[in-house]
């Protein structure tokens, strides 16, 4: 009897234990279910909002300048017209300033130096970014890691700081005096374009390799490197720099999928996207409410601000040379690079004024126009040969002066105090005066 009651008691304890255990486990299961529901909700949110590219917060410091005043040196101004300010007298002499910095490791156009009173700032295709004094002495240099294809853009300079993008996809802000890093932001897999400036923001084109070849334009605070906006992704790299119409608040740039984009610089919204005939590698030019662009189509076209092609010209060979405005005659001059040729086109109606073959099948460079004191008119400067640059009469394409440089120029010229600074394809930095 006693034994039976003990067995019953044990059975009862067992039952109580299992009920207790079941309740505990049910509680834990409900707890886990709550986690799971949260995870399902989060996954939906993640799919809707995740970034397809890597975005970094700023490095650590901020730009201590108020206001930040930046002058765009690449293509001479925000609208990328390539027109040099002031009146110039050139002797036509070239002086090498600094030894070989580029090894021609990558096919893209090499970096054009940025120059001001404090010195010369230039990147190399080997990943170094240099500061030189005006005599060509090295002040400092910084190696930008994982930049096997180097730095190809032109830095933006303010009084104390500079901004430059590199082929590791990072935009850097450095102190001009020491080269010290102020902030960095990792925007993508490569940056080959030059930064532009708009209302305290750095506007820059970015290239992505993952999830596939893609590109976008980003707006980053010049002060602290925080991301302001990013344009929706496009299905190809954007190597082209952004030309900016400050007064109207828009920018234009082209991508390797033939599309030209007009972007609202306050929001990053694409105002229109226009399909051209080929990859757009050059920087568009904004002049009198029109946008001019070359591409690999081959095509040179004028587009209205509303996104309509006003005229289009077959230029026979691919071009990644950015057009240069000759303001007094309203001409646009650019080169083609598979079959070296120079074109001069009327900005008004697209009529080709002249086209001339040049001895430079890699005429990827972009020229500049400047008012010559000697000739009392605007002249055009362009690498007419693989180792020479030419001073060209814009109205007929005649070569006024040929200056031997010894190296190929694939970038552009930066003007500062009656001197033009150049970074050569397989060489160093030289100055033309």
């Amino acid at each position: 009897m006693k034994q039976i009651s003990m067995i019953n008691r044990q059975e009862k304890h067992k039952k109580v234990f299992f009920i207790f255990l079941t309740v505990i486990m049910l509680g834990v299961f409900i707890f886990l279910l709550v986690f799971f529901i949260k995870a399902v909700k989060y996954r939906k949110h993640y799919e809707n909002t995740r970034t397809h590219y890597r975005i970094f917060p700023n490095w650590n410091k901020i730009v201590e300048e108020d206001p930040i005043e930046v002058v765009s040196q690449f293509r001479d101004n925000d609208k990328k017209t390539g027109v040099v300010r002031g009146e110039w007298s050139l002797k036509g002499k070239v002086k090498p300033l600094f030894d070989k910095i580029n090894g021609s490791l990558h096919g893209a156009s090499k970096a054009t130096p940025a120059v001001d009173e404090s010195g010369i700032y230039v990147g190399s295709d080997a990943g170094w970014f240099y500061k030189l004094d005006h005599k060509g002495n090295l002040i400092w240099k910084i190696y930008l890691a994982k930049t096997e294809q180097g730095v190809h853009g032109t830095a933006l300079l303010s009084k104390k700081y500079l901004w430059i993008g590199a082929y590791n996809g990072v935009l850097y802000c450095l102190k001009k005096q020491t080269g010290e890093v102020v902030w960095t932001i990792h925007l993508g897999d490569a940056i080959g374009s030059s930064p532009s400036f708009y209302k305290g923001q750095i506007i820059i084109s970015v290239e992505l390799l993952f999830p596939s070849y893609m590109g976008y334009v980003a707006s980053v605070s010049a002060r602290d490197g925080t991301l302001n906006w990013k344009m929706p992704l496009t299905s190809a790299h954007i190597h082209s720099s952004v030309a900016i119409h400050k007064e109207k608040g828009y920018g234009v740039t082209g991508a390797n999928n033939n599309y030209l984009f007009k972007i609202d610089l306050n929001s990053g919204k694409i105002l229109w996207a226009l399909q051209m005939k080929g990859d757009i590698k050059s920087t568009p030019l904004i002049y009198k409410d029109r946008i001019y662009v070359t591409n690999w189509g081959p095509q040179f076209a004028a587009i209205s601000e509303e996104g309509k092609i006003l005229w289009s010209k077959d230029i026979k060979s691919a071009s990644q040379s950015s057009p240069t405005l000759v303001p007094d005659k309203e001409l646009l001059i650019f080169g083609t690079h598979r079959k070296g040729q120079l074109f001069s086109v009327s900005a008004k109606d697209g009529s080709i004024l002249w086209e001339k073959p040049i001895d430079n099948d890699r005429a990827m460079a972009s020229g500049v126009s400047f008012f010559s004191k000697r000739y009392k008119k605007y002249l055009f400067l362009f690498p007419c040969e693989t180792t020479a640059i030419c001073l060209i009469e814009p109205s007929n394409g005649n070569i006024l002066q040929k200056i031997h440089t010894g190296f190929l120029l694939t970038g552009s010229f930066t003007d500062f105090k009656n001197r033009f600074y150049m970074g050569f394809n397989d060489g160093g930095i030289s100055v033309l005066y």
Partner: protein, 406 residues
């Protein structure tokens, strides 16, 4: 004398149970599998040889002085280790040789322990778990009682880690895995991930309860490990199958642990389990997600779901020159450690030591940005200027002030 008696007790206990002798066989086989893993993987030849320039464990900062073998020495030792593992496995099956098998098994673990602790890059869950089970097998009384509890605790803590970040429950830990069977869409994947968490946190306890569910749960764990082959390779599932074999052996030979409630018999096992639990709970008490910060996880299980993505930047500052030396963190390292701040901490320390006599060298700045796969943005984990002059220290037991909470 006490120690001698204690060890003799262990040997007696193993001799007394056929299931334990067979378990000795399977535990010895984990060393055979380890040999093939290390041998095929190949990293051991770069990590543990004399003058290897890799990363010491924080617990053994002097590991460089322990690296005494040449590549040939490592190769030869590994083959000795393999032969010994096979030999030990088979002699465990004969009751007469259990004493010899016991000592050889200890030697096997010491060899593995030596290689394992020569370099931090050798770390992995798949070593942590067999080490603990082997320790329990060698030195803890009431093995048939404590080993199942230990294995259950592995699953339980692994389950807890899986709910501590969203990578696992959202299924994102597997989102880019091409081997995942194609018919598993995202919803099925997420449901399976949730089921595995339930299995680990709730189901694992059935392994130590006398219920009819025990076998069903065990089979599910085995299926889970077989499935894990697609993500982790052969090593982890084989190790786990060896560890789980005890449950089958006990069932096969119809043996049960004779648990004595006498504290004298149980205290080593209780103490051991307390240490295991404390080690696993440590990371939960350190602020920040351990999957990203890596803090506290050296004493417990760490999970596959710690799928971190990161970038590190080191700026070496010289007079007139700055060099950004490292950028993308070590993609070549194992998933669990490639974003571990401790790895970069070592790189930084080595850079400081390397450049300290260079007159042009000023100092270096270091930042590390990390995110879990399910996070939308990178966060700053480390952001230190002039690191060399600060002389940063790393502790595996507490929060490091220079690692930001994530």
């Amino acid at each position: 004398m006490i120690l001698k008696h204690y060890i003799q007790d262990q040997i007696k206990e193993i001799s007394a149970y056929k299931s334990l002798r067979w378990y000795g066989f399977f535990l010895s086989l984990t060393h055979v599998v380890t040999f093939f893993f290390w041998h095929h993987n190949g990293t051991i030849y770069q990590n543990v040889i004399k003058n290897a320039n890799t990363v010491c464990w924080p617990q053994i900062p002097f590991c460089e002085s322990l690296r005494i073998l040449s590549p040939f020495g490592v190769e030869a030792s590994l083959y000795v280790y393999l032969c010994l593992a096979f030999f030990t496995a088979f002699i465990f099956l004969n009751k007469k040789f259990v004493t010899l098998a016991y000592w050889l098994f200890l030697v096997l673990n010491l060899i593995k322990f030596y290689f394992f602790f020569l370099d931090y890059l050798m770390m992995g869950n798949y070593h942590y778990m067999p080490f603990l089970v082997s320790f329990c097998f060698l030195f803890i009384r009431q093995k048939l009682f404590f080993i199942p509890i230990l294995i259950t605790s592995f699953y339980f803590f692994a389950g807890l880690l899986k709910i501590s970040n969203l990578d696992w429950l959202t299924g994102l830990a597997f989102s880019q895995n091409l081997y995942f069977p194609l018919f598993f869409n995202e919803e099925v994947k997420m449901t399976l991930c949730f089921y595995i968490v339930c299995l680990e946190i709730i189901g694992s306890w059935f392994l130590i309860l006398k219920t009819r569910w025990k076998t069903a749960i065990l089979i599910q764990f085995i299926l889970f490990h077989i499935m894990s082959y697609f993500f982790t390779g052969y090593f982890y599932p084989l190790i786990m199958l060896c560890l789980l074999s005890l449950f089958f052996l006990v069932f096969l030979f119809q043996e049960r642990a004779v648990t004595s409630l006498h504290i004298k018999k149980l205290w080593p096992g209780v103490l051991f389990m307390c240490l295991v639990v404390a080690g696993n709970l440590l990371s939960f008490f350190i602020p920040g997600k351990e999957g990203v910060t890596g803090e506290g996880r050296l004493w417990g299980v760490n999970m596959y779901d710690a799928h971190t993505q990161c970038y590190s930047q080191i700026f070496l500052k010289f007079k007139n020159q700055t060099i950004q030396e490292s950028f993308q963190s070590h993609a070549e390292y194992a998933l669990r450690i490639k974003c571990d701040p401790y790895i970069d901490f070592n790189t930084v320390k080595k850079a400081c030591a390397y450049y300290k006599d260079e007159p042009e060298f000023i100092d270096l700045d270091w930042s590390l940005y990390s995110k879990l796969r399910s996070d939308l943005e990178y966060k700053k984990i480390v952001n230190e200027e002039n690191v060399c002059s600060k002389n940063l220290k790393y502790s595996s037991l507490r929060k490091n002030p220079w690692i930001k909470s994530y």
